[in-house]
Symmetry: C2
Subunit: 195 residues, 2 copies
DNA sequence: ATGACTGATGTCAGATCCTGACACAAGGGT
DNA sequence: ACCCTTGTGTCAGGATCTGACATCAGTCAT
């Protein structure tokens, strides 16, 4: 075990400082130097922690993809598309659940900037691709798998945004929303795969 | 009628120069100055024509959204969701049809850069939103409309990518592909709206 | 015709983003 | 003690993008 002498949490301090400053002044009006100053480091350290200015808002998302892949790869008996999809989407939901406030603040910033919105969509596209290949691995035709994943993820995205936008004190949990939305998805899946 | 003394096509020359240079050296390796030089103008003119470096690849897409909105807004008798969706998606397809080669070259560049992929998704999200609000205007519940648009657009995106990737001399036209893919979409729509 | 106006461009300064190279300091392992 | 790793700072510099101002050729009203 290493015990670095630095506060060692510069990454978190940078992320916090960035979110605060973006919220207060707007994404475009905040410079890297300002973020670094508030975190007590230099701009160079910021760029060592985050690929670029945008990435500081999406860094947490990268933890979700490996988790998603693990969940999907978990050995289990043969499952149908609906079950696998539910497992994957609920896994995502549960990981996001604790961060509701943070996600709300983040989304408010993302919605103000086209490039940020694009970045968000690109990240989600990777999750979608992961689910798609998981379906393929389970024996679905690649064509069907990518279509099913696209539709399933469209449903997920809708519930996610609704959940994030819900400012009430005790919003319906995301995983619950996902599970509630799945029956209609399952209807779609059946209709599609039956052909 | 005004007849500006300049070639007056600096915008097109910039777009052509950019696409050529990106193809030849890669998006990241090309500077704005190089693009401007080849087009016979300065970098400042580039930024007056295009919001930023990325936008030069997506400028044509902006012509599609107004066209899409017009098509959707065209007065006509009452139509069901499937018909309206088909009309919108086929309208998009027909507009893209003549630019197959150009779109292919462009896509090859977009696929090399995450930010560009994000930008593409953001543009498509705007089209999707347009279709969604068109459905809402036709009397669908906002919730259903956005879901239907999401699913319909997922189908469109798949056909679009397949068509773009098709390098054969005489690829199946995009609008034909869309029409062929719609029956399964219609099945989905029926299953969803019937509830 | 002439002078004002418009529009596309050029020039220049400058802020900001981002990277590469090198130095330094502190802790761990040998 | 010595080296190695790690996280950071410093510095130089290229690239992106913007604001302010100048220029110059047509156009239009008088």
């Amino acid at each position: 075990m290493r015990m670095p002498r630095w506060p060692a949490d510069s990454r978190e301090r940078l992320a916090t400082a960035a979110l605060d400053l973006f919220t207060e002044h707007g994404y475009g009006a905040v410079t890297i130097d300002q973020i670094a100053d508030r975190a007590g480091v230099t701009a160079r350290t910021f760029f060592r922690q985050f690929q670029d200015k945008e990435e500081v808002l999406f860094a947490d998302d990268d933890l979700l993809l490996p988790a998603l892949l693990e969940t999907i790869a978990e050995p289990s008996g043969p499952v149908d598309a609906g079950t696998l999809m539910e497992r994957a989407l609920v896994a995502l939901a549960e990981r996001m659940q604790p961060a509701h406030d943070l996600l709300r603040r983040r989304q408010a910033i993302i919605d103000t900037d086209v490039a940020l919105s694009g970045r968000e969509l690109a990240k989600q596209a990777r999750w979608e691709a992961a689910i798609s290949s998981a379906l393929t691995a389970r024996g679905f035709r690649a064509d069907d798998a990518s279509l099913l994943a696209a539709i399933g993820f469209a449903v997920f995205r809708r519930q996610l945004h609704a959940w994030i936008a819900d400012a009430s004190a005790d919003p319906t949990p995301l995983d619950e929303r996902i599970r509630a939305a799945l029956p209609s998805l399952r209807t779609i899946l059946d209709a599609t795969t039956a052909r």
